[in-house]
Amino acid sequence: MRKFLALASVLLLSACAGQPLRGTGDLGLVIERASGHLTLINTSTKAPYARVEGLGDLSHASTVYSRDGRYAFIFGRDGGLTKVDLLEARIVKRVIQAGNSIGGSISQDGRIVVAQNYAPGGIKAFDAETLELLSEVPAEYAPGQFSKVVGLADAQGGKFAYALFEGGEIWVTDFKDPKKPTTQRFPAGKQPYDGLVTPDGRYFMAGLYGEDGVALLDLWQPEKGAMKILEGYGRGEEKLPVFKMPHLRGWSMAQGKAYLPAIGRHEVLVVDGISWKEVGRIPVKGQPVFVMARPDGRQIWVNFAFPDYSEVQVIDTLSGKVVKTLSPGKAILHMEFTPRGEAVWLSARDDNKVVIYDTASFDKIGEFAAQAPSGIFFTSRAARIGF
């Protein structure tokens, strides 16, 4: 009997050794868009630790995280919504929820995951635990006319804000009762292409493609309606062609100012975060796609649309100037800061690798192979509004 107990305890110990306890704060994932794979990574070791396959068409895929950072919800272009366990490195559940999807969000309390879809145009809410469909809001902006939905962002109190590309409106849907959502509509402007919520959750901004300007809705006082900021920033000059739509999502607020990509101009526009007046514009290398603030707000990193997408520029927010131009690899599609911003990870799609830079010295401090990498998403997003 004693022998048996000894054996049992050895077995138990070895079983525990197989699954050491660990947190999720330094984990994340890289989307490998062509092959439908995810590479799971660790920002402390600066290396991948597992690969998950079977996620379908991941072109333009994005991710949100459960509150504990353990589960990633991946929204694929093919309408797939996949829940992945980062600790066990496996797919927990996968549903095809639409024909053509562009991304999604998770509610403040972590209980509802909402997908935004191009076809059929609208949003759908799912139980974050089971991925069971709770309700949907078709983006029918006029009888029989449906719009593509862009810029979905989580607002406070179970609300979600988003914009309608064809509809030219901002909608705010309240999922207090997840099965009976209610929606408010606000005129926004011509062809909103993406949106973001400020880090405090107060303002929702929708960038406009069809006109020079950005629609701004104060979610604390939505009854005041959306106002237009940066109106006519192109000064009537002819636009340069835009070979890829900018992405507003990401933290572009720094030091009380918002840094936004201009459409059809090789500029980053700077807006005061209280008066919402333009306070500057910074010339950059190409059409900005992502304009992302380092978590402390000292730097803004900018990547570009085709054909300038093999360079990245860094703006110093103190001087308001570009202080560094880097060539990290071919076709830089995305950038992600470590939780406190000492490093940034960049995906070089055409070099099939992810590169890691020190944000203080601009030295390359790591690199690993990944097949046509696009989005990089760290679990630190779990605790941020608008991510």
């Binding site: 068409d57 333009h60 272009r77 053509n100 562009i102 191009y118 070979f243 739509m245 054909p307």
Partner: protein, 110 residues
């Protein structure tokens, strides 16, 4: 007989130059396929099933029944009022024509 030979020579060389005008080199063809899948794919989807821009699969294009010349003109010159930009800086009209032919028969994978 000599004349016939002469005509044949001219005919063959003309046919060859016509083919080379429409047919990019294998390297260039590879680049164009990659460009369509990856860069056009930003809006039209990597599988060309559509995104912000419409689907470009053979089925979708045939369903919309657009003349080839219009498709070529859209690629080369863009479509004002929509986000479709002009691509003439990066390809010639005959290369756009080659892309349209490939799209209509089902676009190759990379």
């Amino acid at each position: 007989m000599k004349n016939l030979h002469y005509f044949l020579m001219i005919y063959l060389s003309l046919a060859a130059s016509a083919a080379s005008a429409n047919e990019p080199s294998p390297e260039r063809a590879h680049e164009l396929v990659r460009m369509v899948r990856q860069d056009c794919g930003s809006c039209h989807g990597m599988t060309l099933n559509g995104g912000l821009g419409p689907a470009l699969t053979a089925e979708a294009l045939k369903g919309r029944d657009i003349p080839k010349e219009s498709l070529v003109a859209t690629i080369v010159g863009g479509r004002p009022g929509t986000p479709m930009p002009p691509w003439h800086r990066f390809l010639s009209e005959s290369e756009a024509g080659w892309i349209v032919d490939r799209l209509l028969e089902g676009f190759p994978q990379q």
